[in-house]
C-alpha cells in the first residue's frame, strides 16, 4: 500500500502535466507503401431534389419510328425480302428500333440493318421472321 502510493502520486503528477496519451501502440506495417485506409462512406440524403420533376423520355417508341418508306425499292424489299423499310430517329439504335416495332405494331423483328442517308436521316431495314408476311403488316399499318 505504502509502495503503491508514491507511484500513484508520481503517475498522477505526470498525467496532470503531460496528459494521458503517453504510450501509443505502434502498428506493424508489413509493406513499404501506405495505402488509403477504408473509411466510412455514407449514402446521400439530399434535403431537396435538384429538379422539381424529372424530364420526360424524349426518345419514346413514337418518336423513334418516324415514317415508313413506300418507294419502289422499299416495295421490292417488302415483297421479296420480307422486310419493312422505315425512317427512324438518328439517335435510335437497333435495339431501340426492335423494341419500338414490337410495341407499336406487335411484330417481332428478325434482324435490323440501319444506315444513315446522306441527308442525315437514319433508314432502318426491318426484316420480319418467316412466319409473318411483311405485306400483311404493311397493309395493317396502312402505308401500301
Amino acid at each position: 500500500m505504502m509502495m503503491c502510493a508514491t507511484n500513484k502520486a508520481q503517475a498522477a503528477r505526470k498525467a496532470a502535466l503531460k496528459g494521458v496519451h503517453g504510450k501509443k501502440e505502434k502498428k506493424e506495417h508489413t509493406s513499404t507503401t501506405f495505402r488509403l485506409p477504408k473509411t466510412l462512406r455514407l449514402a446521400r440524403t439530399p434535403k431537396y431534389t435538384r429538379t422539381a420533376t424529372p424530364r420526360f423520355a424524349k426518345l419514346d417508341q413514337y418518336s423513334i419510328l418516324r415514317q415508313p418508306l413506300n418507294t419502289e425499292t422499299a416495295m421490292k424489299k417488302i415483297e421479296d425480302n420480307n422486310t419493312l423499310v422505315f425512317l427512324v430517329d438518328v439517335r435510335a439504335n437497333k435495339r431501340h428500333i426492335k423494341d419500338a416495332v414490337k410495341k407499336l405494331y406487335d411484330v417481332d423483328a428478325a434482324k435490323i440493318n440501319t444506315l444513315i442517308r446522306p441527308d442525315g436521316v437514319k433508314k432502318a431495314y426491318i426484316r420480319l421472321p418467316a412466319d409473318v408476311d411483311a405485306l400483311d403488316v404493311a397493309n395493317k399499318i396502312g402505308f401500301i
Partner: protein, 130 residues
C-alpha cells in the same frame, strides 16, 4: 384493312384536361401520339387531301397534354416543399445570378452598435429653409 383514326383532330380543351387524373392524362398522351403516327403513315401513303393541318392540331394537342402533366407535377412538388427551407433549384426565383448572390434586405440593413449610436446622436439634420 386500314385502321380508322382514333379521334378526330380537333383542339382539345385545356380545362377538360385539368379535370383528368395523371393516369388518364398519360393515356390521352399515348392516344394522341398514336394518332400522330397514323397520320404520318397516311401522309406517306398519299391518300386523299394533305394531312398538314390535322398533324399540326395533333402536335399541339400533345404539347397541351404535356403542359398540363408538367403543371400538375410541379404544383404537387411545390405544395410538398411549401414552407421548407431548401427547395428544388428550378422552383426558386430565377432573377439574375448577381441578384441571387447579393446581400439580403436584412443583411444590408445591419448596423453595428457603434454606427447606430452615431446615427442617433449625429444624424444629418433636416432644416426647413425659406
Amino acid at each position: 384493312m386500314r385502321q380508322p383514326p382514333l379521334c378526330s383532330a380537333t383542339k382539345v380543351k385545356v380545362s377538360a384536361l385539368h379535370e383528368k387524373s395523371q393516369a388518364e392524362l398519360t393515356q390521352s398522351l399515348d392516344q394522341y401520339k398514336r394518332e400522330l403516327l397514323d397520320l404520318k403513315v397516311q401522309q406517306v401513303a398519299g391518300a386523299g387531301a394533305s394531312k398538314g393541318s390535322k398533324i399540326r392540331d395533333v402536335r399541339k394537342n400533345i404539347s397541351r397534354v404535356l403542359t398540363v402533366i408538367t403543371r400538375k407535377n410541379r404544383d404537387s412538388v411545390i405544395a410538398q416543399y411549401a414552407g421548407k427551407k431548401h427547395i428544388p433549384k428550378d422552383l426558386r426565383a430565377k432573377k439574375t445570378r448577381a441578384i441571387r448572390r447579393a446581400l439580403t434586405k436584412h443583411e444590408s440593413t445591419r448596423r453595428t452598435v457603434r454606427q447606430q449610436k452615431k446615427d442617433a446622436h449625429f444624424a444629418v439634420r433636416q432644416y426647413a429653409i425659406k
